[in-house]
């Protein structure tokens, strides 16, 4: 017999035939009334909301308007010191070029509409 035998270890397990008595549950004696919710005391300021952003399509009929906007805004940015005066002309012209090279002429758009009808 090994010396380190666990004295608590059961020798064998027999099948159970009975359980201890199960006590009856008591009936619910009462439900506490629902208390009133307190009103919202204050709402703190929302610092920022992600506003929906959208891209506006370039319209050839507004070409001159875009160009004058570019000049006006460039002028403002130079006055504010955002754009160096020395680069104003180049920067203004670059933005003009980039926008102009993306504007489709109206006659082309009319052709587009015809072709898109045939698409469907």
């Amino acid at each position: 017999m090994p010396k380190d035998k666990d004295p608590k270890k059961p020798e064998s397990v027999r099948s159970t035939t009975s359980t201890g008595k199960v006590r009856k549950t008591n009936s619910i004696t009462g439900v506490k009334g629902v208390e009133r919710a307190s009103s919202v005391k204050s709402v703190s300021k929302v610092s920022s909301v992600n506003e929906p952003a959208r891209t506006s399509s370039l319209d050839f009929s507004k070409r001159d308007k875009y160009f004058s906007m570019i000049s006006e805004e460039a002028e403002k940015l130079v006055k504010e010191g955002v754009i160096p005066k020395s680069s104003q002309e180049v920067i203004e012209r670059a933005v003009q070029m980039a926008i102009d090279a993306s504007l489709l002429e109206p006659s082309d758009k009319a052709k587009d509409k015809k072709s898109s009808k045939t698409d469907s």
């Binding site: 959208r54 506006s56 370039l58 920067i91 070029m97 980039a98 504007l103 082309d108």
Partner: protein, 272 residues
């Protein structure tokens, strides 16, 4: 397995006949894109080969177009045709060079305009950079134009630093670099990758393993910050890093990076 997938892909594309019809239908439209590019840069759309480039791109797109993806053909092809046309423009003999008919400023502007497409690719789709939808159309266009002007100004700074700027220009550029150096390293790297390295905002987003919108929105915030802080006598709070980029910011901090513009100022690589 791959074959099945390939077969599935093939079947969603148009037949050669349908693709050819698409080309015929959109030929005029593709030419109009080439003409717009030629008009913008004072080129001849036929003599300078922009018409051929646009047609090639149109044919390519017709072969790749998958109608089942739910994107209209023009939405799919416009950017590619525009890109092909501007690439053809860049390959023309006199591109961005001075000539008897073109001043040095005009040549510089051409180069800057081309780079603007990298930063604001929506222009290729015929749209201005996205703005808040609550202001009214005119105010939105104005705000988008300001964004483009500030973007072009950053690009001009890069060009000038790389070149041989005049002493008075150097002071202006140093100011721009100083403002950028005041930003968080992550923000400095964002600007550097886009404006100095020419990476698109989407490329930066994929490199940083984050959603494209995180980088796009942050770029917008940075442009607004530069605009405000470069304006005379205005103290502006440095923008915080949005949650989507914080992981990247932690990495930069671990690497001990102060940001490329801070490094430049520290090393005094920008002469005063």
């Amino acid at each position: 397995m791959t074959t099945t997938k390939n077969q599935k892909n093939e079947s969603t594309r148009l037949s050669e006949e349908s693709a050819n019809e698409l080309v015929v239908e959109h030929m005029g439209w593709a030419e109009s894109i080439a003409r717009a590019v030629a008009r913008g840069w004072n080129l001849d759309w036929k003599l300078d080969g922009l018409d051929g480039a646009a047609m090639e791109a149109l044919i390519f797109c017709s072969r790749r177009f998958d109608p089942q993806r739910g994107i209209p053909f023009k939405g799919y092809a416009r950017k590619r045709i525009h890109e092909a046309s501007t690439d053809a423009a860049r390959k023309t003999k006199g591109w961005a060079r001075t000539s008897s008919s073109k001043t040095a400023k005009e040549a510089r502007a051409q180069k800057l305009a081309m780079e603007l497409y990298g930063v604001f690719p929506e222009l290729r789709d015929g749209a201005l950079p996205a703005q808040s939808a609550t202001r009214g159309e005119d105010a939105e266009s104005r705000s988008a134009i300001r964004e483009l002007l500030v973007g072009a100004s950053i690009l001009a700074t890069k060009e000038a630093i790389a070149g041989d700027p005049q002493p008075d220009e150097l002071m202006d550029y140093r100011r721009m670099v100083s403002v950028m150096a005041s930003l968080e390293p992550t923000h400095q790297w964002l600007l550097y990758r886009v404006y100095w390295d020419g990476a698109s905002l989407r490329t930066v987003a994929s490199e940083w393993e984050t959603d494209g919108l995180n980088v796009m929105r942050e770029h917008k915030v940075l442009i607004a910050y530069l605009q405000k802080s470069l304006a005379h006598g205005k103290a502006v709070a440095i923008p915080k890093i949005r949650p989507g980029l914080r992981e990247r910011a932690v990495q930069f901090n671990k690497e001990g990076s102060l940001g490329p513009f801070s490094d430049v100022l520290t090393k005094s690589e920008v002469p005063t």
